[in-house]
Symmetry: C2
């Protein structure tokens, strides 16, 4: 696996969550994964308005103070990039080269979008969310936009706070969409406009990007909810530059988190022999249905080199595969994590 | 230029400052560059103590409350990784693959180390700073440690706040060293122990890493203060994946920041023709001697493809070179930034 300059330019500005941060129920700001499509825009909160219009009875134009004056909702939610796992695919897919760390859990606070849609008297079937970040993609000048059905949008949050403070610029200040259980691209940052329409959104980020395809030209399947994934906080001590983890012989605790956007996590299993045999871990639910669950397993580490693996299954029966399934965009690779360790 | 898995493992967890964040005098948390050598340690602030001992008259053992009870000092300082620019070197150097974004400016608050050294009655010539982060490097179990002369240490800050809030875990909670003007590795995070000694520190991170060498086995020159560098906030609109920036024909403002750890910035020049001709920019000092200066230049952008460049010179006469100078560790590459743009 080798990556070139174009991808390094992305990797230098975007970042995953260092996996030792799996220890936190809620990820501290600066450790949550971050992907920015274009530039982080500079938004003057005094001049900013959220425009909610289109097929509605009463269009709304709301200041940040208007939004903060409404009944607040708080939600702890895990968010993962749809491209998480991309750099582990063969053949190589050129885009943000995530390994497995593109995840984080935030305590988001904001306004229930369902209430605002009611207030505006939404009549259509679909909703388009437009951001303030602009760029050139696929030869086209565009701003980042995504759509949801009206029913999906009713369950979303318009978040103005993260972990008890106003959104940092990189997480969408002053307002972002938060759709619990969905991959990151759905959660439009720097939100400026919500438009109710009578047809599914067909913009670039919906109809071209973020689809599961085997070849160019295929219509493909849209990406939506997060597939199940378990991650282990790498035990023991690291190497620099990265290599196997170093553990002492004897009892230790293996632990981590797991989530699925489809259904609650039903089980997390760990293998200490490279996926040959599996043991079920103790599972504890997270602070909300939409936050990751915790898991732990005691392990009596024997001398030698081992490959630790973990995999999650959700209540809808989705389970992580042992090997990746390739697609053109390098999306949704939730193959099991493998952590090489040396016990001495 | 191609990077492999070992470097991608570093690039996925460490991150630079997206260059549009050059717009902020003080870098918001989460946008400041971040390099973690080993794992981010989990520190219980109640059990934590700073031990100041060695060749002193009165050893100190201080809680966080003890430190906060002392007279506070606040300092806005720019910090850059010594490896910034590494990935642009040829032949390729394997380590954290920074392009040019490994920088940030923080508003740090803490205790003047000179005062604490006086309080303890420091008698030696040198000081060793020991961190809580542990790992295996060069085949050796170690914690991150760096040394300074006693004179250098007297000018340092022990910082417990960043941008008005307690240090986030990834920036060294509960306490870190801040040595204004020095490359990042000097600014030991998760500080646990300060030891006054009678001889220069000869640990791994001082005697082996962070030295300018042409070949293994050379003693080399230690890295210390930051060389001058100017960076431009990339103008216009980005491409995804990254490509040239897109600008409109006509007047625009080119702007950015510049710093040097050796002396105040004397001048920043910009070239709009790939370093053929240069124009001097308007320069404005930063909020402190140790914070970056701002620079700006109006440019009447003509249609076509151009390469924008910027370079800084400090009052000690250090100037950025047009081409990198290679060294084994890939340190201190402060060659001029080059920003391709398309004006249409």
């Amino acid at each position: 696996m080798e990556i070139g300059l174009e991808e390094l330019l992305l990797a230098a500005r975007n970042h995953g969550m260092p996996l030792e941060a799996l220890r936190y129920d809620v990820t501290p700001v600066g450790l949550h994964y971050l992907l920015t499509h274009y530039d982080i825009p500079l938004v003057d909160p005094d001049g900013w308005r959220l425009e909610l219009g289109g097929d509605v009875e009463r269009p709304l134009s709301l200041t940040l103070a208007d939004l903060r004056a409404r009944e607040p909702v708080e939600l702890v939610a895990t968010m993962e990039c749809a491209g998480n796992g991309r750099a582990l695919l063969e053949p190589h897919v050129v885009s943000q080269p995530w390994l497995q760390e593109a995840v984080g859990t935030g305590r988001w606070r904001g306004v229930a979008l369902g209430r605002l849609l009611d207030e505006a008297g939404a009549r259509g079937t679909d909703v388009v969310f437009s951001s303030l970040d602009r760029g050139v993609e696929a030869g086209e000048e565009q701003r980042f936009e995504r759509g949801l059905t009206l029913a999906e949008a009713r369950g979303a949050l318009l978040a103005y706070d993260l972990n008890g403070a106003p959104l940092p610029p990189q997480h969408g200040f002053p307002l972002r969409l938060l759709v619990p259980g969905w991959y990151g691209m759905t959660n439009v940052k720097w939100l400026a406009e919500i438009r109710v329409t009578g047809e599914p959104f067909a913009g670039y980020q919906q109809a071209n990007a973020y689809r599961l395809r085997q070849a160019e030209g295929e219509e493909g399947e849209p990406l939506g909810r997060m597939l199940p994934r378990a991650l282990m906080a790498p035990p023991g001590r690291p190497e620099f530059p990265p290599g196997p983890r170093h553990l002492d012989v004897g009892p230790c605790v293996l632990e981590g988190r797991a989530w699925s956007g489809h259904a609650p996590v039903a089980a997390v299993e760990v293998s200490c022999d490279g996926c040959a045999t599996w043991a079920e871990t103790e599972l504890a639910p997270g602070p909300s249905r939409w936050a990751w669950s915790s898991w732990r397993l005691e392990w009596d580490a024997p001398r030698g080199a081992h490959e630790l693996c973990c995999r999650a299954r959700d209540e809808a029966g989705n389970e992580q595969p042992l090997a990746p399934s390739w697609n053109l965009g390098g999306y949704a690779n939730n193959a099991v994590q493998r952590v090489p360790v040396v016990v001495a």
